[in-house]
């Protein structure tokens, strides 16, 4: 374990919890899925459809949902990596759209993103130490010696053995590559880190190593994390708050304990019941959802979940449900579970 001096250097930031660090207001992102031709206009769909979420400093917000629900697109919107088609995404109170070029560059330093495919996001020919230092070189932070020192500190913090610092990515295992990616993302001391399925490609014992590393770095550096995942069991371990997405919209958002233990939205309930529990003694009646999710390109009208929802009635296919709060926990459903 690294020395306490290292830790101090990494965590020299005040920790005013409760302050909003990033926010989205009715943010949407449209993509073209069929190009225009002579006879027809381009067909577009909203990968993210009017999502409003607020992110508090030092929390871990998990965004969960199945493939095609728009969670990764939403992550990029929060990070300011994609311009929204409508609505706005703000970081520390400023909309990304209105930032000057210089401020935008600064925001790149403060918002980092970590992807699932560690190997793909590293340069296959460069030694990892150089790659971890690169953001400092790009942003010209500190003197040469400072940068080198900080790189070593960071590589120690992610617990990458010193004998591997000069290795190229192909010489590292998947878990070690993900450590390098984390070190590179955190070296500029960002405030907000978006992790897009960071452990999905890893074996379970390595997955646990990376999860506890992330949790550890988060508390030491006072990071705010957005954790995008399809794996609810992983989310359970790391999240403070959970937002569940389905076909581009949020179904339910609230404290992790509440959402995952007392889901209000029928989709969340079905999703949770589908997650296997590693205990043969626990026998559950499983709520099987019929059919496949509709294509995100042609979402159903009204509540997007109504085609598979066990409790849907007429109104659900006509009107999208309004947001409502139950015990401080946001639900988008005409008939939410109201039991305490």
């Amino acid at each position: 374990m690294s020395t306490t001096a290292d830790l101090k250097a990494l965590s020299a930031r005040p920790d005013p919890a409760g302050e909003t660090i990033a926010e989205t207001r009715d943010v949407s992102k449209a993509f073209v899925y069929r190009k225009a031709s002579l006879t027809r206009a381009a067909e577009i769909f909203n990968a993210v459809d009017k999502v409003s979420l607020c992110l508090e400093r030092s929390e871990t917000l998990a965004i969960v949902g199945e493939s095609g629900c728009g969670k990764s697109t939403f992550g990029r919107l929060i990070a300011g990596l994609l311009p929204p088609s409508s609505g706005e995404a703000t970081f520390r109170g400023h909309s990304y759209a209105t930032l000057s070029a210089e401020d935008w560059r600064a925001s790149r330093r403060n918002v980092q993103i970590i992807f699932q495919d560690a190997a793909g996001s590293l340069d296959p020919r460069l030694p990892v130490e150089i790659q971890v230092r690169e953001p400092l070189d790009l942003h010209e932070i500190g003197s040469r010696a400072d940068r080198a020192a900080r790189t070593r500190e960071m590589l120690d913090a992610v617990q990458l053995g010193r004998h591997l610092w000069q290795a190229v990515p192909s010489e590292l295992s998947g878990g070690q590559q993900q450590r390098v990616v984390i070190a590179r993302a955190l070296i500029t001391k960002p405030e907000l880190v978006i992790c897009d399925e960071p452990v999905s490609a890893l074996d379970v014992s390595i997955q646990a190593q990376i999860l506890s590393l992330l949790a550890d770095l988060k508390s030491r550096m006072g990071l705010t994390l957005v954790f995008i995942s399809h794996d609810l069991a992983v989310v359970r371990q790391i999240a403070d708050r959970v937002a569940v997405m389905y076909l581009g919209r949020v179904c339910e958002c609230g404290p992790a304990g509440q959402v995952l233990s007392h889901p209000r939205h029928p989709y969340t309930k079905a999703l949770l019941s589908a997650v296997p529990v590693p205990d043969p003694a626990v026998k559950r009646t499983r709520l099987l959802l019929a059919g496949d999710p509709p294509s995100p390109h042609t979402p159903p009208a009204g509540c997007r979940f109504h085609t598979r929802c066990p409790v849907a009635v007429g109104i659900c296919s006509q009107h999208a449900p309004e947001r409502q709060f139950i015990n401080g926990h946001e639900v988008h459903c005409h008939f939410p579970e109201n039991a305490p």
């Binding site: 199945e66 379970v204 390595i206 997955q207 646990a208 506890s212 609810l232 371990q237 296997p276």
Partner: protein
């Protein structure tokens, strides 16, 4: 007591690498499986679980071969069969369901055609009859609108529907043993639940024996009767599912279970197995897990532990954990 449907006795697989050296991805694997039973073969990537199944069905890569041991299916030693006889076994007795069905089906043939082909390979029926059987099979696996889906190509169907088609294809040969190799790994969790329910339903209906190859220990607890844990090419623990999850005795099994994130409880800190699996061409001389094991002693580093039967389970460990959970 009748003999099991399938038993492996000290099966080893050798692969000749390009460099000329021979590596052993599977060493002395033993386990057995009854009719109608679901056995889960678990372990992390590279532990030899898939390779074991490929060896049993004669699908090893060109440079691979069964080096020693037996794999006996219904009284026949598969290790001794010719490639041609092995093909007959695959047509009739052993069927596979692979991960990622969308890429596992031929993109230029309709799914109905591909299922009908399996029917024709299995028994001497007309192509017309085979196409009808294909539709019936698609219906059996819960494909909506099976007769028109049979004419669809894999790229027109969703991942879940393709996985159903793949299962229909596997069932076309009326197999005795179904090997599901990470069959639900690529699917979303709600679709995974559907597919698992389907496989279990087929097992119950046809008295199918199922080998579930997976890295997902949470899933195993729900579907399997017996669990075989593999590490670095060897079976290290075999037990009934309740016994294993109640009290894993091999330190690696215990470590795996403790590092598993769980839905039903939040762990203050996930336990972590430090280090990594040793590379296949540089196995330690003793127990392969010894370098990562907190209980390892001098004998662990010197001598490979034998797989031995201890009170209803099989265990390969010099320093096993307690029989009951403390």
């Amino acid at each position: 007591m009748s003999s099991p449907l399938l038993f492996l006795d000290r099966l080893s697989v050798a692969i000749r690498a390009r460099s000329g050296e021979t590596v052993y991805p599977v060493r002395d694997a033993s386990f057995s499986l009854e009719k109608g039973e679901t056995l889960a073969l678990v372990g992390e990537s590279g532990c030899g679980k898939s390779m074991t199944c490929l060896a049993v069905s004669g699908l090893l890569p060109k440079r691979g071969r069964i080096d020693a041991g037996q794999a006996v299916l219904d009284g026949t030693d598969l290790a001794g069969l010719s490639p041609k006889a092995m093909r007959q076994v695959r047509r009739r007795d052993i069927a596979f369901v692979f991960q990622d069905a969308t890429n596992g089906l031929n993109p230029v043939k309709s799914v109905g055609w591909q299922i009908a082909e399996s029917v024709v390979l299995r028994e001497n029926v007309s192509w017309r009859a085979a196409r009808l059987r294909a539709v019936a099979l698609l219906e059996r696996v819960g494909m909506p609108d099976p007769s028109s889906r049979a004419r669809d190509f894999p790229h027109q169907l969703s991942g879940g529907m393709n996985q159903r088609a793949m299962i229909a294809l596997a069932m076309a040969g009326r197999p005795k043993l179904l090997i599901a190799d990470e069959a639900t790994t690529a699917l979303d969790v709600t679709i995974q639940a559907q597919i698992l329910a389907l496989i279990d339903d087929l097992r119950a209906d046809y008295g199918l024996a199922v080998i579930f190859v997976t890295h997902d220990l949470s899933l195993v607890a729900e579907i399997a009767d017996t669990v075989v844990v593999m590490y670095a090419g060897r079976v290290i623990e075999t037990a009934r599912v309740a016994d294993l999850y109640g009290a894993p005795r091999h330190p690696y099994s215990a470590g795996l279970l403790n590092s598993l994130p769980r839905m039903d409880m939040k762990r203050s800190d996930l336990q972590v197995i430090e280090g990594q699996v040793p590379p296949i061409n540089a196995m330690p001389s003793g127990c392969a897990f010894a370098p990562r094991c907190f209980r390892s002693t001098e004998i662990c580093r010197r001598q490979i532990p034998e797989l031995t039967s201890i009170s209803q389970r099989q265990l390969a460990c010099h320093q096993p954990g307690a029989e009951q959970a403390s």
